[in-house]
């Protein structure tokens, strides 16, 4: 459903993403891990067609982002880093705007927005201005925004970043509920999150893919089952006792 082929991005002389490839299927939550600056967001921006790749391509539900960006974008729901929104709009109005931009039929728009509002528990703030919402609510509005057109592929860039533990829990539960019918790529540097929601994960560092496998495989590399040690060994090359990669 999502196939990334040797995708690379250069900013001037700086190689931010270096020939990264992976695949994800329907029903799968693929974790996208790496330290800050590893190139996670840049990769996601290329998959969503926001940035042009320097080389390589991403195929989303059969559509190439390079050759047919509008078609690829139509099957993607995207939560950008820091979940930017149109702050001056009201929650419902904003979701309606997204629905119209995503060419939802006018007759179905209302019922679809109702559904989304329920799914993301936004009922209490439906008619509130986005700028007045708490961070947790804003994040849910951003998730809601990505779901309006019922996309097959979801790209979530650190959707739980900056939330308190309860809000993190809510967002993760929502993601798990969605997982069955969709293909989800979720970036994070919170390792517990990987174990909780991801079926498979990829680790990148300095733009290169360093690991691909299940969270279980990752954990088993450490004798003590300490996933953070494995992460450190993979991304920094340091030696940690009891960890073999």
């Amino acid at each position: 459903m999502l196939e990334v082929k040797d995708i690379s991005k250069k900013f001037g002389d700086f190689q931010a993403v270096d020939s990264v490839s992976f695949k994800a299927e329907k029903g799968e939550v693929l974790g996208f891990l790496g330290p800050n600056g590893a190139g996670k967001s840049t990769t996601m921006k290329m998959i969503t067609g926001f940035l042009n790749s320097s080389s390589g391509d991403a195929i989303v539900c059969g559509a190439s982002v390079n050759d047919n960006p509008l078609e690829a974008q139509a099957s993607i729901g995207y939560v950008p880093e820091n979940a930017p929104l149109y702050e001056e709009m009201y929650v419902r109005e904003f979701l309606e705007f997204i629905g119209k931009m995503r060419s939802l039929e006018a007759s179905k728009l209302d019922s679809r927005i109702d559904e989304i509002i329920k799914m993301c528990s936004l009922k209490e703030v439906e008619f509130q201005k986005i700028e007045t919402l708490s961070k947790g609510y804003k994040r849910r509005v951003s998730l809601a925004q990505s779901l309006v057109h019922d996309p097959q592929v979801l790209i979530l860039d650190e959707p739980t970043d900056g939330l308190d533990p309860n809000q993190k829990h809510d967002v993760r539960r929502l993601i798990k509920n969605l997982a069955k019918e969709k293909c989800i790529l979720i970036s994070t540097h919170i390792l517990e999150e990987v174990e909780e929601v991801c079926d498979r994960c990829i680790i990148i560092g300095e733009g290169k893919k360093l690991f691909e496998g299940t969270p279980k495989e990752l954990k088993e590399k450490s004798e003590k089952g300490r996933i953070q040690d494995v992460f450190r060994v993979i991304t920094t090359g340091q030696q940690v006792q009891g960890v073999a990669v």
Partner: protein, 248 residues
Amino acid sequence: MIAQVTKELMIKEIKSYFKTPLGYVFLVIFLFGIGYLTFEPGRGSFFYMREASMSAFFRYIPWMFLFLIPAVSMKLWAEERKSGSIELLLTMPITVRQAVVAKFLASWAFIGLALLGTTPMIFTVSYLGNPDFGVIILGYLASFLMAGALLAVGGFFSALTKNQVVSFILTVVACFILIMAGSPPILEFISALLPKYFVDLFESLSVLNHFDSIERGVFSLSNLWFFAVTIFFWLFGSIILLNENKAN
């Protein structure tokens, strides 16, 4: 002909002018400002001219626009880039070209509304005498076209920087040069540096000359072409610029 996404974005953008005080502040300053300048009992103003025409009104339009249009255009792209919402916008199935056109048309429609708000002046003038309505309509057309050209310039500078204040200042400077391009001091300055050919070229780029010629009731296709090309040129520049720097 216009894609649905373009239309939807345009509607959202027009509404957004009325979601912040900026839109209302603009309308109030514009309407009171132009009213004051027109009827203020000084030289060249309405009463002094003792004729039932709106030429006093149209004479001040370019100078009102010089400061107010950059205020309308400054946020077009700067705000989207600063908040990151540009990422939301451009990952929806809309091209940069469509988005640039939609935002431009929305800002133009907003200025159109502001101009509509001045139409009571027509009744005042026709109550006082027998104005030439053809000339008045051409005056409005000239004002609207000029607004389009200056907004296209402003959209470009809004795409250039994330800082709205910088965008405002750059647009004022650029618009001032465009408006004044045909004025003697600027032409003298240029003729000291460049051959005559460039001086003529520069003079023909003067927004004010084209505005004046329409406003005086001399409307030619070349005036229309001038504004169309100016708008096209700056919108095209915005598209190139955004494709380059949208992610920075």
